[in-house]
Symmetry: C2
DNA sequence: ACCGCTTACCCAATCGATTGGGTAAGCTGG
DNA sequence: CCAGCTTACCCAATCGATTGGGTAAGCGGT
């Protein structure tokens, strides 16, 4: 453990310099740069003496002082709808890992998907002088992003994309297609979609991927079979209720763009006396750790959440380095489980 | 939105001073202190001119410069086992809220409950010169805490307590008692406990609260009916398997110190052909949002997670202000649901 | 002996805000 | 008319690290 503490005495460059009878700038050059500058700034012997002493005294540079001078804080801001959304929490673990690898630290804040909060949190981050932002709660219609671009704030989107901005996301269109392929191949011909929030690209893309693929197979999906909803269990429950009420004949399969909505829907189905996997197939999205653990394990499109977080950091790093970057979409895969594994039964077909 | 950006020109005190033809120190005093110092430093008219200009130009003080001078960063470090644990994620939301209210920003890092990582993350936080730490992953046997105290690093514990250190936690002993009261009152006499990790006070206290209360009723709990386990679904599943194998006669009720472990256990019970709520009562802990949404809703001891987070910040603030603080334990309440609502059935009693 | 080059440093300004210690002008009271 | 006080400021050092621009010593070559 180093000795620079919140409470105790802190070792500074000057301390090291005084101790060794050399100038702080020399110490800085030795410690600062990996041999390129160090050589030329000091003799090998001096460099070693400095490094040894620094290590012995547990010197760690003051990041505030460094930032003040260099105008770079090595701080990244991360804004998510809410960390209590497992999906974002896992992406954040990827971010933390990626950022640590590059020597950055990260702030996270919850915006609750509320535009006022998004702006406020963004402001707080910028007031802290973060070097860049990772935005995990982008709305498709958001003006904030244009503003940030105009002001040349470096940022990347994560999880949700918005055309024209760099982003690290799951290939949600593909994910929707995978779900459609699966349900169609199991013989389903009458399906409904719990579509999520229309302001989120995740919801829109997954739904579009599913619906377009379904139509390309020659299937039909009526207006009332696509229900927009919140992403949480309560939203999924309501959406499923709507579908059960509005769709006649009752669909034989449900695609929810989010595992939590799928779980809520499963609850609603159960309340209606339907058994998931037998009377109704259900497919979720993200393959959160719960999907496999449910009493009736949930089929789900697995999105590489950790990798999305890591990729977002890499991308932001490139932006900070002034490189031009393209959006990246990581491939999802389908995990089939009991909730949708069996082919549609004769009884259901006959309905 | 203020104009100080990661990308653009930033307005400094000196800019304001030049613009108005006064000295930066005067501007600082006006903007810095709420009338006490400001009065005496400048005329009311000047103060207004300064404030108006600051607002117009979107001045926001450079936190790095401020910290360098004042030696306080207004940064708090938060260390948790993992943010993908819903419980900690929600506590963090409380922290974020509380910290924002006091003008602090927070770093979070995941330690994965691994002592090496705990130390490494602590070091990273201190290297960033945080003003204090909120530690959410304390182990009962941890030496790190003693070290931090010796080095006079201000910190408080959250979620898990360790005797002798300030902490904001749930009253876990009481929580365990509530579960015991409930199951006993429903007629159960043969129970088992999925106890969690023995290094966490949450696990130890909840188990002790339950077991002691049970014994005070005259009940008995055998050695093999208390199974230590990981906190996740897989851990709960394994523990339940152990219990089903080792306990004869089979218990009629299960208390898991964590909802996720409870969910895992429910899966195991189902695999054994047992119906939760009828063949076996199950009670979890924390009342995470999923408990109520499960196909068979889970009874759970509700712990005030948001408040614990908020309280942790308040407590740390007091520590930073040099006040003496006592550990705080917030009261849990019991939410009874289908998984344990009905009284023990005659069939089960006869077993 | 002298030019030019390398080696191994030192010097001082700078980033932006804070703060203890001035000081000049103006007013009051005796 | 002047001591003494208040008002409304200014000055300069400081926090710790970085960095462009020195410079003195030493050495090789001619």
């Amino acid at each position: 453990m180093n000795d620079s503490t919140a409470g105790g005495r802190t070792v500074t460059l000057k301390d090291l310099a005084n101790e060794l009878g050399i100038h702080p700038s020399t110490v800085s050059r030795i410690l600062h740069s990996g041999t390129e500058v160090a050589r030329g700034a000091a003799s090998v012997a001096t460099a070693k003496r400095v490094r040894d002493l620094a290590h012995k005294l547990g010197y760690s540079p003051d990041p505030q002082a460094t930032s003040l001078r260099t105008r770079r804080t090595h701080l990244l801001g991360v804004i998510v709808p809410r960390l209590s959304d497992l999906v974002l929490a896992i992406m954040y673990e990827g971010i933390e890992e990626g950022a640590a690898g590059l020597g950055y630290s990260t702030f996270v804040m919850n915006s609750r998907d509320n535009p006022v909060e998004q702006r406020r949190k963004t402001d707080t981050m910028l007031a802290r002088r973060v070097d860049g932002l990772i935005i995990g709660d982008a709305h498709l219609d958001n003006v904030l992003l244009q503003e940030l671009r105009t002001r040349k704030v470096p940022f990347v989107l994560m999880n949700r994309r918005v055309p024209g901005h760099p982003s690290a996301t799951c290939d949600d269109v593909l994910g929707g297609q995978l779900a459609a392929d699966h349900l169609w191949s199991r013989g389903h011909r009458n399906v409904a979609v719990i579509a999520g929030e229309p302001y989120a690209s995740t919801a829109v893309d997954r739904t579009a991927g599913f619906v377009d693929q379904w139509k390309s197979f020659g299937g039909a999906i009526s207006q009332q079979a696509v229900v927009w909803s919140r992403f949480d269990t309560a939203g999924g429950r309501e959406a499923a209720e709507n579908i059960l009420n509005a769709c006649n004949p009752r669909p034989t399969a449900l695609f929810a763009v989010n595992d939590f909505a799928a779980i809520g829907a499963m609850g609603a189905l159960r309340s209606h006396g339907l058994t998931v996997g037998r009377d109704m197939a259900v497919v979720g999205f993200n393959d959160t750790s719960l999907a496999a653990e449910l009493p009736i394990p949930l089929s789900s499109v697995r999105s590489p959440m950790l990798d999305i977080g890591r990729t977002a950091v890499q991308l932001l790093k490139q932006v900070l380095d002034g490189e031009r970057v393209e959006p990246i979409r990581l491939k999802p895969t389908l995990c089939v489980r009991e909730s949708s594994a069996r082919a549609i039964s004769a009884t259901l077909l006959r309905q």
